[in-house]
C-alpha cells in the first residue's frame, strides 16, 4: 500500500490533525472520569477542575476546525483523505459534546455540595461510577480504534453500547426506589438522574465515533443500523 502522498507537507498535515484529535479525545476521556470521581467523592475542587478543562476542549475544537478548513481549501482532498477529514470534523463535534456532558456532571456536583448533600445521604453513586466506567471504557476503545483505523474494534464498540443503556435503565429503577422510600432524597436523586443520562450520552457519542471510523475505512454510512446490520454491511 502506498501510504505517502507526493506532497510530504500534506502527509504532515493529516498526521498532525489526527494526532490532535486523539489528544482532544484523551482530554475528554479524563474529563469524564474526573467528573464522576468528583461525584463519588463529593469533591468541589475536582468539579471545578473539570469545568476549567472544558474551556481547553472547546478551544481545541475551534482550532482543529480551523485547520480542517485550511487543509480542505488548500489540498482539495478526495477519497480516503476526504473521508478522514469529514470524519475528523464529526469526531471533534462528538468529543466536544462529551466534554459538555462532563461539565454538566461537574456543575451538578457543585450544586449538590451547595445544597448540603454529602456521602452521609447514601445515594447510589457507586452504580453511577460503574455506568461511567463502561462509558469511558467505550470511549477509550473507540479512540484506540480511531488511532489504528480498526473497524473490528469499532464494531465491538457498537455492539457494547446497549450494555450502558441497560445499566442506565437499572439506575433509573434504583433511583425511583430511593425517592419513594425517602422523599428527602428526591431533589438529589433527580440530579443523579441527569448525571446518569449524561453518562449514557457519553456512550452514545462513543458509538457515533465508532460509526465514523467505519466510514473512514469502508466508505459506508452505517448510521441508524443495528450492530448486526452494520456487521453484514461491512462484509
Amino acid at each position: 500500500m502506498t501510504e505517502k502522498h507526493l506532497s510530504t507537507q500534506f502527509d504532515a498535515e493529516l498526521t498532525d490533525i489526527s494526532a490532535r484529535v486523539l489528544e482532544m479525545g484523551g482530554l475528554v476521556e479524563s474529563q469524564v472520569a474526573q467528573a464522576v470521581y468528583a461525584l463519588t467523592t463529593f469533591s468541589g475542587d475536582v468539579a471545578t477542575q473539570v469545568l476549567e478543562q472544558e474551556q481547553r476542549v472547546n478551544a481545541m475544537e475551534v482550532e482543529i476546525d480551523r485547520d480542517l478548513s485550511t487543509i480542505i481549501a488548500r489540498r482539495q482532498p478526495t477519497a480516503r483523505d476526504l473521508r478522514l477529514l469529514i470524519a475528523v470534523s464529526k469526531t471533534i463535534g462528538n468529543l466536544e459534546r462529551i466534554g459538555d456532558e462532563a461539565a454538566r456532571i461537574g456543575r451538578t456536583v457543585q450544586r449538590l455540595l451547595n445544597a448540603g448533600v454529602s456521602s452521609r445521604m447514601r445515594l447510589p453513586v457507586a452504580d453511577l461510577q460503574f455506568e461511567s466506567e463502561l462509558a469511558t471504557r467505550q470511549l477509550r476503545k473507540v479512540l484506540d480504534a480511531f488511532a489504528r483505523l480498526d473497524v473490528e474494534a469499532a464494531l465491538e464498540v457498537l455492539k457494547q453500547d446497549d450494555q450502558i443503556d441497560r445499566e442506565f435503565d437499572g439506575l433509573m429503577r434504583k433511583l425511583i426506589t430511593y425517592m419513594m422510600e425517602d422523599p428527602r432524597t428526591i431533589s438529589a436523586s433527580i440530579d443523579l438522574v441527569f448525571v446518569a443520562k449524561a453518562i449514557e450520552r457519553v456512550g452514545d457519542h462513543a458509538k457515533n465515533l465508532a460509526e465514523v471510523i467505519i466510514y473512514i475505512v469502508k466508505g459506508a454510512d452505517v448510521r441508524h443500523n443495528t450492530p448486526e446490520a452494520v456487521a453484514s454491511m461491512m462484509r
Binding site: T2, A79, G219, A220
Partner: protein
C-alpha cells in the same frame, strides 16, 4: 462490498461502447483491451497520468489516428442505437466525424470569420441555404454561450477573439453539425480560471443534447463536470464508475492512490 454500491436513480442509456479495444502506434501497444461504456447525455471523464492512453482512447472515437500511417485498431467501438462499429474499415471516417466531433486543448479557429468558422462543417456537408446556415450559427453560438458577445460582429476574423471565446467558438463549430458525441481533449488547459469556469458551465448546459467524453489532467475538473469517471493507467482501464463513487470511495486501490495524490 454492497454498502458502497450506489446506482444512479435512472439507469442511463448506452450511447457507445468500446469492446476489447487495442490500439497500436506501430508496434507499441498504447491501449490494452479497453472495454468501457459511454452513457447518453452524460459526461464521462478520462483521467490518469501522462502516457496512460486517455487521449489515445479519445481519438479512437472519431478515427483521428487514421491520419497517421502505422496506427492500428483492434476491437470495436459501437455507436448506439444503430450499433455501428466506427472502427470498421468499411465505415467512412468523415461520416464518423460528423457524428463524433472533437474540441482540442488549444483553441484552433480557422483563419476565417466567426460565421464561417461555425458553418464550416455544414458547408463541407453541402449545406447552401443562407437562412438555414444563419439559424444554425445563432443556435450553435447560443448553445456555446457566445452569441451575446459576438452577434454584432459575426464577420470579424475569429482569431481576434480571446482564448476563452475562441474555445467556445470551437465548441459552437462542433455543435453546428449536431454531433451525437463531443470529445474534449483537455479543453481548458490553455485557459484562465474564469474562461475555464465558463467552459465547464457550458459542458453542463450542452449535455442535454450531446454525449460528452472529456480528457482532463485536472482532477477537480473531472469531479466538477463529469457523471462518470474512467481511470486509466499504462493503456489499461483500471476503474470505471460514477464520479461520486470514484471521488469518495473508489473500488480499486490504484485509483484511490492516484486521485489522492499518492501516485509515485
Amino acid at each position: 462490498m454492497t454498502a458502497t454500491l450506489t446506482l444512479p436513480e435512472r439507469p442511463p442509456t448506452l450511447k457507445a461502447e468500446s469492446k476489447n479495444l487495442d490500439f497500436y502506434y506501430g508496434s507499441f501497444r498504447a491501449l490494452k483491451s479497453v472495454t468501457m461504456p459511454v452513457y447518453e447525455h452524460k459526461v464521462t471523464a478520462l483521467i490518469g497520468p501522462s502516457g496512460c492512453g486517455k487521449s489515445t482512447y479519445l481519438r479512437c472515437y472519431n478515427r483521428m489516428h487514421d491520419l497517421y500511417p502505422g496506427n492500428r485498431y483492434e476491437g470495436s467501438i459501437d455507436l448506439h442505437p444503430d450499433q455501428v462499429n466506427v472502427l470498421h474499415p468499411s465505415v467512412d471516417p468523415i461520416e464518423v466525424r460528423m457524428r463524433v466531433s472533437m474540441v482540442f486543448q488549444k483553441p484552433n479557429p480557422f483563419p476565417k470569420s466567426i460565421f464561417e468558422n461555425v458553418v464550416y462543417g455544414l458547408r463541407v456537408r453541402g449545406e447552401k441555404s443562407r437562412s438555414f446556415l444563419e439559424d444554425k450559427v445563432e443556435s450553435a453560438l447560443k448553445d456555446a454561450a457566445l452569441w451575446d458577445e459576438v452577434k454584432d460582429r459575426l464577420d470579424e476574423v475569429a482569431v481576434n477573439l480571446s482564448g476563452g471565446q475562441q474555445q467556445r467558438l470551437c465548441i459552437a463549430r462542433s455543435l453546428a453539425t449536431d454531433p451525437e458525441i463531443l470529445l474534449f481533449d483537455e479543453p481548458t488547459s490553455a485557459l484562465d480560471p474564469i474562461a475555464t469556469g465558463s467552459i465547464e458551465e457550458l459542458i453542463s448546459a450542452i449535455k442535454n443534447q450531446v454525449t460528452i467524453l472529456i480528457v482532463t489532467h485536472n482532477m477537480q475538473q473531472a469531479a466538477r463536470v463529469s457523471d462518470f469517471v474512467a481511470y486509466m493507467y499504462l493503456g489499461e482501464l483500471i476503474e470505471f464508475g460514477e464520479t461520486r463513487e470514484i471521488f469518495m470511495k473508489p473500488k480499486r486501490r490504484e485509483t484511490e492512490d492516484y486521485i489522492t495524490g499518492r501516485f509515485g
